[in-house]
Symmetry: C2
Subunit: 488 residues, 2 copies
């Protein structure tokens, strides 16, 4: 309420405030806006014009209509945990924060689905249904904080996506507000493979550039009867990589198949959740198998056999849920753990064909040597999704730029080996130029043409996801009305 | 060659013939075109202007460019097994047949993928790799004849899609020719979850209205270690339906969970592959479980237990691969088997939430009584994908219309129960008006706007998939240059 008494002469803020109801429905003071100048990608910062907190789809629709009618750039924001800058207000956008829209609207276990608002936190969903034997599969490392709306925008992945697929494989329906304010429903009642064009697919992972999601129907899975988790230590990273390919070749689809290299191990063992990994090995694999109890032991035996044939130094099975939990905490806090061994780090996110793992790791090593910056590797090895973590010190002149360059070089290597520049973190503003590594101008234009259909005035989250148009790409409309200095 | 000597004064045919190389590259005689006046949906027929047989993407691109430059309507055709009329030349289209583009271009077992041309027959892929222990999952009943290009267009399903998903879940990359003749690549090297908009998803299942697929990268799966198949006979259809829900509730995901009702049983037992189903039961379930051997017996025990608790009359496990094969042949030839008990039949394809099965079956029964037409039900019960088969005699006045109406009423019931009007057969021309059962005008417009991006002149496969614009939907461009009478 206090906030509302602050005076502003920005007529748009005054009007936007009338649309949203309830306390703390809008922020526009300079010091409040500072918290919204970036998301989990902290290298670039821009202040929004205001942050509004609608309570339902109708309010979102009215806000969007107002912005559209007044040529105000706008974008949606969830928990702000995104790692590629998708929620950064590049053009002084009005940020439509969805954190007040956080209700769990429906659980239908018979048809295995739940309906949530976009601000509902990922992990809360599983916590709401685990006593009944169900869970929601996509599990990004930030799942304790990130919202399902944000997960849809980024098509978020997670450690267990090897077996269960990423967010797009678990979304059954959406209600969205289009950039003209219209509310439409896409996919209904959890019916899979709806006819017509796959709007569900195109919106999922569109990084907030096509529409604002206001309601989400997700698929729920039954808890597996059992799970077992293996840690395997390899003296040579090559052996670890080969073991990954060999495990997949057996026909087993592990629920998760994670790898960390020596530098990553140094980080996680120096941070909050050490588990006693030896410091002198080159690779640790964390392998989890789940399913029907009767089958699990056979799969574990096969996996242990593969590790031995690849010269594993030591391999062990978690003896209980507590040990399993500690191993996972060690892995899932891995990015942040780099803070223990480096003042700053930049996380990259590339994908390669699994068979190229050893070669690509060698190339990343070369990039590290050439840049003079250490690179830790923590990754979803099973699906070839690498996370090179470039360690640097932003206080040292040139190191930030060096880290950004090294990160980009890692992505270039991924693209050269037939891979992709992002597996789960999105493109945002961070990697939009790197899109050229994998798409030619025609291929980019086919996509920006689609953006134009949804978002013809380019007011919604402009300047994200695609490279700045070059010579051969049709020049897109200039951003309208970007305002950067109306703060009080 | 003989064909090429036939004279025509249609300058477009003369020019198209110059683009395609090799023998039998074009058909344009009336009697040849008759074979292309419909596909598996035989109720409506239109003659194409010509049928051309390009040998590669370049020829497809040139044909498309020619058609685009000369305002000639065109469409692509695979094996012509589609059930909703998607390949019918409504506007006297030039048909671009892809049957000569049928090469298996690459098999990469290490990365579990294959690259095929669109005319490659579905079942041939599995046959090419089964000796190495792999298979391609989507298995429409027409898989011995249908092409993978057609499967992509229709997002084809099949009996085993309950566990493994439909075509869109197995497509890793496409090369397509856009309606302006440009060739673009979508998804590359089998890397899943490529950044940018999900063009792969939007093209898959777009029923040939957005682009022509010229190359397809598909995911291969490792053969399960074992599989077991169960037949269960129920006196009451209600018990069979409840058993379906109960099986899913156990947490088991069967590879397939099929159901046939009494009329369907009469059909399959009167046709080429009878297996001795009792004629006096109301429902038979065909249930298949696959995976790791150790787990299968436990799952079968659970399934047998569920069937018994739902008053099953008899339940048995296939004793060998031969018996399993006979059971599947009986089921997979089920549609055609209706020919043994009815001069004509119309197959419908609706989806409902699984929990609504008993109620929806009762409503379909009412529709049968009211129409005076028998309706057999053969369906993928596990995912709620119904196939009501309306039996009729086209020689009796009014019965064809009555069957079409009854089929449409079945779809309306599916929509009323929160379902969809097609699970796997597509919309085509057959169900385009029924799209209104599940989409409002805004939702249809969001889709036709996308078609406009890809296909701005509406020359590619016009008049399919979406209802004829009504009052509230913006009137689309009129078809240009539809020619229906240039045959020699």
């Amino acid at each position: 309420m206090a906030l509302k008494t602050i005076k502003t002469n920005d007529v748009h803020i005054i009007n936007l405030e009338k649309i949203v109801t309830g306390p703390q429905s809008i922020l526009f003071k300079y010091e409040d806006l500072l918290a919204y100048d970036c998301d989990g990608f902290t290298i670039e910062r821009h202040l929004p014009r205001a942050v509004v907190f609608p309570k339902d789809s109708q309010e979102v629709s009215k806000l969007v209509q107002y912005c559209a009618q007044n040529d105000l750039p706008f974008l949606a924001r969830g928990a702000g945990t995104g790692l590629s800058g998708g929620a950064i207000p590049l053009n002084g956008e009005v940020i439509i924060s969805l954190v007040r829209m956080k209700r769990l609207l429906e659980i239908d276990l018979e048809n295995r689905l739940a309906v949530v608002e976009p601000g509902f936190v990922n992990l809360k969903l599983t916590n709401s249904i685990s006593d009944k034997g169900y869970y929601y599969a996509p599990d990004p490392s930030s799942q304790y904080a990130c919202t399902i709306g944000g997960n849809v925008a980024e098509n978020a992945g997670g450690a267990h996506c090897l077996k269960y697929g990423v967010t797009t494989n678990h979304i059954l329906g959406l209600e969205v507000v289009l950039p003209n304010g219209e509310i439409i429903e896409i996919g209904k009642n959890g019916i899979p493979d709806f006819p017509g064009y796959d709007l569900l697919g195109i919106l999922t992972g569109s990084e907030g550039t096509l529409a604002i999601v206001t309601k989400i129907t997700v698929r729920l899975l039954k808890n597996p009867e059992g799970k077992k988790t293996v840690l395997a230590y390899f003296d040579r990273v090559e052996d670890g990589s080969r073991a990954v390919s060999d495990i997949i070749s057996t026909g087993i689809v592990p629920a998760a198949l994670e790898m960390m290299d020596k530098t990553a191990i140094e980080g996680v063992e120096s941070a909050a959740f050490p588990v006693g990994h030896p410091r002198d090995i080159e690779a640790v694999l964390l392998i989890e198998v789940d399913g029907i109890l009767a089958g699990i032991d056979d799969q574990i035996d096969l996996i242990l056999g593969v590790c031995k044939s690849r010269n594993v130094r030591e391999v062990k099975v978690a003896k209980d849920e507590e040990e399993r939990g500690r191993w996972w905490a060690n892995r899932k806090t891995g990015f942040g753990a780099m803070g223990a061994i480096s003042p700053d780090y930049l996380v990259q996110d590339g994908v390669i064909p699994r068979s190229k793992l050893p070669e690509v790791l060698r190339r990343i090593n070369q990039i590290s040597e050439e840049s003079g910056l250490r690179i830790a590797n923590i990754f979803h090895a099973g699906d070839g999704n690498l996370h090179p973590l470039v360690l640097f010190d932003s206080r040292k002149p040139g190191e930030t730029e060096g880290a950004i360059k090294a990160g980009s070089q890692c992505l270039k290597v991924c693209a050269e080996f037939g891979g992709s520049i992002t597996g789960e973190h999105g493109v945002g503003i961070e990697k939009k130029e790197e899109m050229r590594f994998i798409f030619n101008d025609d291929e980019i234009k086919a996509q920006t043409d689609i953006r134009e259909v949804f978002n013809p005035n380019n007011l919604l989250n402009a300047g994200k996801l695609f490279p700045t148009p070059g010579r051969c790409v049709e020049v897109k409309k200039e951003m309208k009305n970007p305002v950067k200095s109306t703060y009080y």
